[in-house]
Amino acid sequence: MLSVAAVLVMLFSALLSISVRWLLTAALWLAVTSAGAAALLYMLGAHEIAVIEFSVGTGLVPVLFVFAMSLMGRTSSMPTPIIPRTAAGGLALLCLVLLGLTLLPINTAGQDKVPITFSQILWQDRSLDMLVQIVLIFAGIISVLNILRRTDAEPPGIRHDH
């Protein structure tokens, strides 16, 4: 029952976070969604990832949003959607229904495997993934550095328009 409650909290807060007018509130609702997700992850047996999700999703990401908003000085926005809400809702729903139709009945019989610890998998077996993650982070940092470059970095005397 706890799991159902977590799911309900998640869906409710996710809905709120995309529908509230104030961006700050939206970011906070995202944090609640993340907390719900962390709880569900814990119940599914993914204890370590639950902690990571909680700290990143509830701690770091909303802070990032708030920081970005403070840089922009924007707090609220809710223009009329270009695509009517009902149409969008219908499309999303149709998409889910078709996905469900294709997928179900899904075989959810659990299997027992020899437990290998998370850290062993993460740092040894899948160390390649870790290496790729370093690439990912490096690329991301460079991207952000490039996007948020200060304009006065341009040296004089270099032609710009060729």
Partner: protein, 671 residues
């Protein structure tokens, strides 16, 4: 391995092209032309050498394998050349006429700002055309086929930078030629696909061997031949794809002579000759070809009667003569078709080059006279109404032109008489309806060529530029003399009863009838006589360019319709082309269609011509608005889906999801 002469034939023009391409900026005026001419001339010698090898070869065929090209799975297509009587005859003709035209162009193009580039294109064209005729499989043939298409496109639009919108017109003409040809090419490609699908090869020998195992009239063969025919109709400017050729005259005259009269346009006929083994097994297609050929011969000849432009007359004449060849191959008279193809190359090149000499002279005269002109409006050196009296000013050109005209009209014993007579004689034996149509076309031919001859050379000069024109330089007139000589003796190639060409090709065709020959001579004499009678009187009275064509005075609207190629081009423009440009409502289209039927069923000659004149404005306007654009409408509609807005883009993603999952769910459920 010693270099085979066939390779040389293709390689020499290619070398000439490369030399001009890379040395152009170092060379002064006549040198690039001389290099190109030398390349063409040496290719001619190599072609003669190659032709000499045909007889010695076993089976009359030499295969020259250069290297592998495509080798994937079942598809094995090498770069291979084929030397047999047909390709040797074509190569000799192309390089021979080509050399003379190169020499002529050295003089004609003097002073052009892109002198060297012209010869680069011309040599490239020769190489492509030679590749086309000497290919050993359909794919190599297609390379040549597209190569000549590109060269033709580049050369038609060669003067794209002429002032007063003329340049734009020239480049539009080039593009039109290209696109119309591509319509045929699509058919050609599908035909190749079918051939490969069924015979697992595109080598001529393998395909023909495979085809010979099929019964005559096999649906596959009919489909293939119709696809190949589509390509041939585009290249050889036959109904319904002839509309590009009259406009192709926008190119320089040597180009018109070489590409759009003597060589490239005969590629369609060549394709059918080459695929003789397939067409012989598909009589249905043969009948279709005869019908198209005979109709085109008539249409071209009648349209030529009404032209005012000296080159457009010849262009329609080419269409008509190609119709003769098409009708011939359709009836199975392959040797006669090849014979006429060769003689036509000589006399049409002669006519074009003579016409070019006239235009060249008038252009220069107009240039000099520009200071003290002013009367008679803008001088237009290709308009025959502005000529007259050139017989005395340009005697050499006059005589060569006369010879060409007589050959075209079919006067004995010139080359055209024998070749045209071979076709007519065969038609009389095999297809009376085609015979009648072709004979009528022959009569019209004599008439329009007589009309042109009189209008250009006789009477008094009708404009200042015609008064001051002088004979062209020797570098231009000497090739004329050589070509005239060929027209005189060309008939000897395949005299009735002692068919050298027939024997060489290993064919057995004989269809000489004295009665047919006499009838055709009578038609030629009658047509020319009538033209001289009508126009001789008219030019004597005419004093300036404002004179009135005597036929136009009688049947103005009919002449107008004929002048515009029986409005077929306009019909396309207003239907297909506008389909690309406008959107219309289906309802309105239905209304307009009714209008068309109303108009067309209106009886009576007077009413018809009046209605046609009306229709010129209303019917076509209506069609233009109503046929609407399917393609462009679709393009517009799909363009509107590209909002560039992220929200809509996501809808696209979700749409894709929905479609894919609908399909996958169905598959899952079906299992």
């Amino acid at each position: 391995m010693p270099v085979h002469p066939v390779i040389l034939v293709i390689l020499l023009p290619l070398l000439g092209m490369l030399a001009n391409l890379f040395l152009a900026h170092r060379l002064r005026e006549p040198t690039p032309g001389l290099i190109a001419g030398a390349a063409a001339g040496s290719a001619f010698l190599a072609a003669l050498w190659a032709a000499g090898m045909v007889g010695a070869a076993s089976g009359g065929v030499v295969h020259v394998h250069l290297f592998d090209w495509i080798a994937v799975g079942a598809l094995q297509v090498p770069w291979a050349l084929r030397l047999d009587a047909l390709s040797a005859a074509m190569m000799v003709m192309i390089t021979g006429v080509g050399t003379l035209i190169h020499v002529y162009a050295v003089g004609y193009m003097r002073g052009d700002s892109r002198y060297a580039r012209f010869f680069v294109y011309l040599n490239l064209f020769l190489a492509a055309m030679l590749l086309l005729v000497s290919a050993d499989n359909y794919l190599v043939l297609f390379v040549g086929w597209e190569g000549v298409g590109v060269c033709s496109y580049l050369l038609i639009g060669f003067w794209f930078d002429k002032p007063h919108g003329q340049g734009v017109k020239n480049s539009t003409a080039g593009r039109k030629a290209f696109i119309v040809n591509r319509i045929g090419d699509a058919g050609l490609l599908i035909g190749f696909g079918l051939l490969f699908w069924h015979f697992d090869s595109l080598q001529f020998d393998a395909v023909f061997a495979g085809a010979s195992l099929l019964p005559a009239g096999d649906p596959l063969l009919v489909a293939v031949t119709i696809c190949l025919l589509a390509g041939a109709l585009g290249k050889s400017a036959q109904i319904p794809l002839f509309v590009w050729l009259p406009e192709a005259m926008a190119g320089p005259t040597p180009v018109s002579a070489l590409i759009h009269a003597a060589t490239m346009v005969t590629a369609g006929v060549f394709l059918i000759l080459r695929s003789e083994a397939l067409f012989a097994l598909a009589p249905v297609t043969g009948t279709l070809i005869v019908a198209i050929g005979a109709l085109t011969a008539l249409l071209g000849a009648s349209a030529a009667v009404a032209q005012r432009d000296i080159k457009r007359t010849l262009a329609y004449s080419t269409i008509s003569q190609l119709g003769f060849m098409m009708a011939a191959v359709g009836m199975g008279a392959y040797t006669a078709a090849l014979f006429h193809l060769i003689t036509h190359a000589c006399f049409k090149a002669l006519l074009f080059l003579s016409a070019g000499s006239v235009v060249h002279a008038l252009e220069h005269a107009a240039h000099h006279a520009a200071d003290h002109a002013g009367r008679g409006g803008e001088p237009f050196p290709q308009d025959m109404r502005q000529m007259g009296g050139l017989r005395k000013r340009m005697p050499l050109t006059f005589w060569t032109y006369t010879l060409g005209a007589l050959t075209l009209a079919g006067a004995a014993p010139l080359a055209g008489f024998f070749s045209k007579d071979a076709i007519l004689g065969w038609a009389a034996d095999h297809n009376p309806a085609a015979f009648l149509a072709l004979a009528a076309a022959a009569g019209l031919t004599a008439f329009y060529v007589g009309r042109q001859w009189v209008m250009v050379f006789f009477g008094a000069p009708r404009t200042p530029m015609a008064k001051t024109a002088v004979e062209s330089p020797p570098i231009m007139t000497r090739p004329l003399l050589l070509l005239a000589g060929l027209c005189l003796v060309g008939g000897a190639l395949n005299l009735p009863g002692r068919g050298a060409l027939t024997g060489w090709l290993g064919a057995e065709e004989e269809s000489f009838h004295l009665s047919v020959a006499i009838a055709s001579l009578a038609l030629a004499a009658g047509g020319m006589g009538l033209a001289i009678l009508i126009y001789g009187r008219a030019v004597r009275r005419a004093a300036n360019a404002a004179w009135r064509d005597p036929l136009e005075a009688r049947a103005e609207r009919l002449m107008q319709v004929m002048r515009q190629g029986w409005w077929i081009d306009k019909l396309y423009r207003r239907t297909f082309i506008c389909a690309f440009k406008r959107t219309g409502l289906a309802l309105k289209a239905a209304e307009e269609t009714e209008l068309v039927f109303d108009r067309l069923t209106y009886a009576g000659y007077n009413r018809l011509t009046e209605a046609l004149a009306d229709a010129d404005e209303t019917l076509f306007e209506g069609l233009e608005h109503s046929t609407g654009s399917f393609v462009q409408g679709l393009a517009g509609a799909s363009e509107r889906t590209q909002t560039g807005q992220l929200n809509w883009n996501v809808v696209g993603i979700i749409g894709g999801l929905i479609v894919v999952f609908a399909i996958v769910a169905t598959i899952g459920a079906l299992r």
